[in-house]
Amino acid sequence: MSENGSSPALQIRDLDVVYRVRGRDRQVLREVSFSVGRGESYGLVGESGCGKSTAALAIVRYLPRNGRVRGGSIEIDGKDVVRLSEGQLRRLRANDVGMVYQNPGTALNPAIRVGGQVAEVFTVRGVERKEAMERAQAALKKVQIADAGSVMHRYPHQLSGGMQQRVVIAMALAKDPTLLILDEPTTGLDATVEAEVLDLIEHLQGEFHTSVLFISHNLGVIAKMCERVGVLYAGRVVEEGPVETVLQDPRHPYTVGLLRCIPRGGVRKDHGRLDTIPGFLPNIGEAPPGCVFADRCALVQEICTQDEPPLEQLGGLHSSRCYFHEQARELPRATAANLVLPAVDRTTAPLVQFEELGKVFRQHGQSIHALTGVSAAIWPGETLGLVGESGSGKTTLARSLLGIVEPTTGAVELDGRPLAPRLGRRTQSEIRKLQIVFQNPDSALNRRHSVRRILRRALKKLANLTGKPAEDRLKDLMHSVRLAERYVSARPSQLSGGLKQRVAIARAFAGEPELVVCDEPTSALDVSVQAAILNLLVELQAQRRTAYLFISHDLGVVRYLSDRIAVMYLGRLMELGPAAVVFDGPHHPYTEALLSAVPTVDGGGRERIRLEGEIPSAAEPPSGCVFHTRCHRKVGEVCELEEPPLVEVEGGHLMRCHIPIDELRRLQLVPGEVATA
């Protein structure tokens, strides 16, 4: 579509965007400048509230009504977007810019068949209906939808999340845009699906030479997908440069801090706490006179709070907005690493024991086998990490432990005594011992109740405390989750996500529980907040010897926190073993595929293993080994006919696979070495 080949696909200069809130302009983006060259992919990274999405919206003038571009220019293909008329703007959106947002479910019209929606991209440009449908089908084929013909006739809700996102990408690319804006396109997807979508975008970008602006909070994804990256903090680009340079040699204290927050490179809780970034993002519209990061920076000097540092050129396109960029890498730790964890004693009786647990849901006359013969144990003070794609039964397992879901077969034992399957039949002391921290802190707290009320009620029900003793315990509890006392009368809406999660953790710990289910407790949080919450969980475990059943799709997080890891697939345990063994291998082929799917900051390392197709329906699980339909190491007929048992392959390491462990070790080592070499 480009007539003007010399100008970059996107050029933003000194962009100022303000939101008008309560009669005052609050600046969200300050003098943001960056450009996306032709065929280049540029990453914009930062935590929530730093202005990433505002930038994406401003580029196509989709700002909400109270938002406004106050200064600077945005040029797409040499056209100044800010000065376009309504008609020109519509043509720009129709022809030159493709956008893909986080939630594909809301980007597609639920009432129109997929084919019709994709075809619309062409019909708005005057292509005839019949030809548009043909081209739509071709577009779907391009995004590697095998069964494009039948997908055309389906409604969006009949497709999985990954498939929906492919359709959205197909629509965005169908117009052969000059610029493709991807705003957190894989954030809601499973790791394996995310990996496939990222592969697809990478492949398409190579094929179409599209220029891509990739917005994400996930540094690993940015590392995989982008050539250059800009780090956004409080509406400012604080560091910019080629991806490898910025991630391997960060020169801004914020980037350094962000990278340190991420549990990576096999770091585990017994190595100590994660580092964190102290303090909070400044409020929207607050403009400190000096550096925007000064009040959270450990390298801060007087000059930082007085004059805004200029964007210093460091050579090789790398630039940083910091006076002390040379010392940035030596940023002192904000959180001391030292931490003593009591050892887990597995010679004693386990705290919780799952005995051949099975759960069948009846749905529309079908039987959904959510859990099949799951047996596992959790010892006091240990963390059992639970991983697997969505639909693998992780949540059902945790819920049957808590008594929210009644298992169809098998039993759960607590301290050697069987637990009633239904919550209502359990004693208050059993209820007290098992608690949960939910994924979404917004819905986990009653928005009409104050922090005090939430915690006092938990203390009353779980610790049987009222009056003065309850008030004292409340203070202890808030102190132990590092929640300042002045929040005691706050309502959840007044707290940030991280603070809400602390309240939720305090509530779970009110009655000195023996096991806490953590259901993706940090996946809704920013990485710097995540690090603080993970530290908190580890500290509480160290002090109180609480056991965790930790569910997460973030394998780095699971590895950091877990002593042992259980890998689930279609309601079955595929592998169970000490964290280090499960991660370092030899591992089950499914675990291998899961691990290879995760984009890491360090990049490379593992060869990507593609899982064929989608997770099969739990209503009709495949015969034999349930994983055989997608397994890249399938040995033959035996996999289709016979389900392998879960057997101990070496000390404490259980696996469900026909391939002998030594064979797996050989298979998994050799290609790995080749890939890194």
Binding site: P278, I404, I431, I436, N446, G498, A532
Partner: protein, 290 residues
Amino acid sequence: MTAIAPAIAQRSEVSVARRERLRALVRSKTFVVGVLIVGWWVFWAVVGSSLTPHDPLDQTSSVLARPFGHYWLGTDTLGRDVLSRVLAGATGVLKVAPLATVLGIAGGTVIGLVTGYFRGIVDDSISRLIDAVLALPLIVIAVTAIVALGTSLGTLIVVIGVVFMPIVSRTVRAAVLAERDLDYVQAAKLRGEHAPYVMFVEILPNIVAPIVVEATVRLGYAIFTVAGLTFLGFGLQPPAPDWGLQIAENYALLAGGSYWWTVLFPGLAIATLVIGVNLIADGLQQVLDR
């Protein structure tokens, strides 16, 4: 560690939000006009006949005087001042309709909470019963009940309130369904809370907004129903200056085309009050739904 000092500005955010909402209401023309209209009628309902230009029950010799003369809105067949009767007529309606609404909201909320929270067989059986009730025209049920129980203000309140319950319960049930699967409800169950606590202490405060809107909408209908029932002779009895009753007493005179004022003004009174209430409902809905 990290949980230190975010902005102090956050402190009073709840009261700010509340003030903000109040300001949005005051800025909403719909709401303000509604309040003015309803306020006017509430004023007359409270002061009653003490401030009306004439005694609404006083029969004079100037029968069926035309409006805009000595009697601003004319007089009726018994020579009673229409203006005074219309103004004083607010009292009855504004006593019965709000009380009936409160009763209907209270009962409907409880039913809605129970059906929405328990689902399953409780929900199915109660909901089918409600469907059956809703299938009958409101006026028919009301008339039957009043005939059976006898006419009094109390009966009128109870009948309208009870008829409203199933309607209100549907709205409440829908709101409960959206809340019951949220994690805070799970959290309450997981610390051993009993159902009534979860329903009334955890869920109820979170569904106040739709209930408030429903209450204003119901109030409009209640006013209409009261007027309708008194028109049919099942509400206040003569010589009370009730709007429905005034229309009933005089509508036979409409036939010739003359004497329209005896019916038009009480009719307008009903219409303005209902419109006023509905304007308030609209205003509230716009502000609370955001």
